[in-house]
């Protein structure tokens, strides 16, 4: 069991994602971005390089300054999304990234820099990001207390 949202958890998800060729087609493909994931006090920056997720590093808030976008929502909602993925093998209707982004008043995807062109990478790579989180279905996640 690997704790979410530790860098180790993202590494485990990345290992599943990187090894599965299916994520490279069907609208998936190469991605080039760095995005943050904020879960309460925990902040991880994830690097996507080509077909692979190549890194996950714990940072502080200042570390978000130069990421392309970051995803932030309450811990309970992160858990709900991941538990839905774990139960179903992929995000179901109410738990896809875009759905959550539109459902939340403040949105899920944001940035420090405010450059919409970079923020739009969330949309341009949306299928790949969805595949990445969907890959967590095959990781034993410790959702914590």
């Amino acid at each position: 069991m690997i704790r979410f949202p530790s860098p180790a958890w993202f590494d485990a998800v990345a290992a599943v994602f990187n090894a599965d060729d299916r994520y490279r087609g069907a609208g998936g493909g190469q991605s080039f971005c760095r995005f943050g994931v904020i879960v309460g006090e925990d902040i991880v920056v994830v690097t996507m390089d080509g077909h692979e997720c190549t890194g996950a590093d714990a940072v502080d808030r200042a570390g978000l300054a130069d990421v392309d976008f970051y995803l932030e929502m309450p811990r309970s909602q992160w858990l709900a999304m991941l538990q839905d993925i774990a139960a179903n093998g992929h995000a179901t209707l109410n738990h896809t990234l875009n759905t959550i982004d539109l459902d939340l008043d403040e949105g899920l995807s944001k940035s420090v820099h405010g450059d919409q062109y970079r923020e739009d990478l969330f949309f341009r790579y949306n299928q790949t990001l969805q595949f990445l989180f969907d890959a967590s279905a095959r990781v034993h996640t410790d959702f914590g207390a």
């Binding site: 069907a26 493909g29 190469q30 982004d101 459902d103 923020e119 341009r124 949306n126 299928q127 969805q130």
Partner: protein, 357 residues
């Protein structure tokens, strides 16, 4: 009659004069981690699109010109700033990687009968989107044929867009006919406000209307579609379409950014295109307070979860449209035209503020 070049027993004489009439030689592009991309081969003179193109024969950029070659002519776009964007080859390679098939990549088997009002709304929306995507398929095609191959990188992006739009046309038609509904009524909207994209006489004018304004709006509709999808098939449809659309928007933003830096003398002109785009946003279906379109009706039903939740759906629609406007503003800022929101030229933010949440 010339004797054809002969047989092994009768060798012909070769001139071979062309061996010394080729382009820059010794080019050794190497593949990186992402394979051999167009950016990798943009080396030396092959990577230098001219500020002004005198290529009237359609030769590939960097090829040696032939004095006697026939002119093709007909290229109205021969100035780099008219069409260029710095990451065109990157966007093109991205498009190549992210192709998908509506026939096999959408889980059609997950469609199940929906309540009549929901199915009607989905079909109304699908009919509207089929019609809208027709515009985005036709218009770039016209400009492609007018662009010198010296600027093949942005041209490739437009060609990929035409491909994307064909796929969108196809997937929405399929959705309308796959679940007990059908195509409903055309809106005619693509000959009016949206149809003004057809009327553009300049590429940047067209791009500001199509990519910044039009595609930005459609991107929001696709994102809403993913939000309000009732099954995995619809989720996939809207998510994949939104991904494509975001790429088209990125083209527009980056072209406009290039223009703002490379052709500052055209800033006022481009501002007037943006003035028009914003008038259309506020007058048309993108206006958060706007209700008067068939697509708004359909979206409100879908967002609300039924005809009897129409009001609730319309409130959600307005909220999402406010975000859409915010994103538009940020895109225009990213493109280098943010001054218009600070100097009072654009009234879009004032009008936004007046719409009550």
């Amino acid at each position: 009659m010339n004797t054809p070049a002969g047989s092994p027993s009768a060798p012909v004489e070769f001139k071979l004069d062309w061996l010394s009439q080729q382009g820059e030689w010794g080019t050794q592009a190497t593949a990186g981690k992402q394979g051999l991309t167009l950016a990798d081969v943009a080396i030396g003179s092959y990577g230098e699109p001219p500020e002004f193109s005198d290529n009237m024969t359609g030769r590939p950029r960097g090829a040696a010109p032939r004095k006697a070659a026939y002119r093709i002519g007909g290229y109205s776009i021969r100035t780099r700033s008219e069409i260029w964007l710095d990451n065109a080859s990157f966007l093109y390679e991205e498009a190549l990687q992210r192709q998908w098939s509506s026939a096999t990549d959408v889980p059609w088997h997950t469609l199940e009968p929906l309540p009549d009002d929901i199915e009607t709304a989905q079909c109304n929306l699908a009919t509207f989107l089929t019609e809208v995507e027709f515009v985005a398929g036709d218009v770039p095609a016209r400009w492609i044929a007018q662009t010198t191959p010296d600027y093949f990188e942005p041209r490739n992006c437009l060609l990929a867009q035409v491909m994307d739009e064909a796929r969108h046309m196809d997937v929405f038609r399929k959705r309308a006919l796959a679940n007990g509904g059908g195509l409903t009524q055309a809106t005619g909207g693509t000959a009016g406000v949206v149809g003004s994209i057809d009327l553009a006489r300049d590429f940047t004018e067209m791009s500001s209307r199509l990519h910044i304004s039009g595609e930005g709006a459609v991107l929001t509709i696709f994102r809403m579609g993913e939000l309000m999808a009732y099954n995995d098939a619809e989720k996939a449809i809207y998510r994949l379409c939104a991904q494509d659309e975001a790429r088209h928007v990125a083209f527009g933003v980056m072209h406009m950014r290039y223009m703002s830096e490379a052709a500052p003398e055209r800033r006022d002109e481009i501002d007037s295109y943006l003035d028009e785009a914003e008038r259309q946003i506020l007058a048309g279906s993108q206006n958060p307070a706007g209700q008067a379109t068939p697509s708004s009706d359909a979206l409100a039903v879908l967002l609300g979860g039924g005809r009897d939740q129409y009001d609730e759906g319309m409130k959600k629609l307005q909220a999402i449209r406010r975000r859409q406007i915010q994103e538009y503003v940020k895109r225009v800022r990213s493109a280098g035209f943010g001054e218009r929101f600070d100097n009072g030229r654009s009234r879009i933010q004032d009008l936004m503020a007046s719409t009550v949440a």
